[in-house]
Amino acid sequence: MRGYSFSTVLGRALRGHRRWPPAWRSAEPGRAYDVVVVGGGGHGLATAYYLAKNHGITNVAVLEKGWLGGGNTGRNTQVTRSNYFWPQSAAFFERSLELYEGLSQDLNFNVMLSQRGILTLAHSHHEMEALRRWTNAIRINGIDSDVLTPAEIGKLVPLLNLDARFPVHGGFIQRRGGISRHDAVAWGYARAASALGVTVVEQCEVTGFDVEQGRVTGVSTNRGSIAAERVCICVAGHTSVLAARAGLRVPITSMALQAMVSEPLKPCLDTVVLSPVIHVYVSQTDRGELVIGGGADGYGSYAQRGGVPLLEENLAALIELFPAFSRLRLMRQWAGIVDITPDTTPIMGPTPVGNLYVSGGWGTGGYKAIPAGGETMAYTIAHDAPHPLIADFGLDRFETGALIDEGAASGVSH
């Protein structure tokens, strides 16, 4: 792989940007691999990359039924943060944020991480108390977060209407939180993994698993059978569908989470603003578009489109907070299918089927977890034992009762 650098960009520019080589090899599937990763989104590609980089396992195939990053990786609102309540979640998501901070260098691909801070608002005295407790928990976990007064918030976000129907009583900010470019994360991991020898196959749907004596030995696909020593499912909203093909039931409900972007504006909002109670969050991309999201539609769904009632609720909340945005037009609105667990904590690690691993249950917050998710799953697959950071995220917690109820800290209620 030729590294991207100022000189390569300049050299190509002088030649009219003709004949850039493809960023990754989009290959035909082979017959057998040490590891098959099902799903070419951020988590699948990152898992393959860290298998090759950290564990020297390069005979790996990533099978993607559509195109790379075309599922939730390309549909999320690009927020990265680690302001979680419980120690297990905080340690995991903080590791992810650390990896994001060095990701552009590590992958030699600009993921455009912008640590502009994520501001969470409270609209009543009682909410403010809960938010102080949350902030304290985050600080005890060793992660930056600061409580802000309404005056400080007004200075930080001048367009915000502090004296609305739900007045702003205060908030807290994680300054290291922010946004990055989600397509670049998928492409960067695909390119870096491909350079290390990983096979990336697009348009290849896994239709079943070969299971012999309780152990998975391969997968069947629309492009033939592929033998595999180990298989990892990284398919977000379709985790239940794939798990069922391996004979497993999982504690997941799939729902549609919608997002939308406005027409582009001049720079006006340099912070991610989130209100858990009136149900909206918003940031402005480098192109000037406002990216707006809220909670998931309130019923099970595999339709990648959002319902109008929730769209209206999200936009009403946005205009409540930012009256100046009321005349904007929306350019696009879409939804991704998110896999929500009962405790809103992901499900990562081995499954009751031997040699079959799962990385799912990401719910509404999988994007920020991509680097650490890939790193810890690669370790788990290579050692056939959970990485210490995800030891508490296993499927067995639903039997032991050791749930990690992160609903409170997931930002927007589910």
Partner: protein, 101 residues
């Protein structure tokens, strides 16, 4: 946007209803193992296709009832009251799931 035919009030907008998850069938006996209880409490079929689920008409008659709905097209095929037998939907499943992709 869903329009849900409440068996007591007739067709109403989805905003009047609350979703109650998949309709579960049998509560395990008290002596069931942790694994059986875990399966009942947490695991779901979560099908891409037809599902039996509970809804409550919370801003109407406040009654719980069951809906048979397709999770890709969102089309509602049947509605039945608590205690009624499940309608036979086997003949619908394959074609509808195929159509929904």
């Amino acid at each position: 946007m869903l329009t849900i035919p409440c068996p007591f009030c007739g067709e109403r907008d989805e905003a009047e209803f609350r979703y109650g998850g998949e309709a579960l069938e049998e509560i395990p006996p008290a002596e069931a193992s942790d694994a059986e209880w875990s399966d009942y409490l947490f695991n779901r079929d979560n099908p891409k296709g037809l599902v039996h689920e509970r809804w409550c008409h919370s801003y109407g008659c406040n009654q719980w009832f069951q809906v048979v709905r397709e999770t890709v097209t969102h089309r509602i095929h049947a509605v039945y009251k608590v205690g009624e037998l499940r309608p036979d939907i086997d003949h619908l499943d394959g074609a509808e799931a195929q159509a929904g992709g």
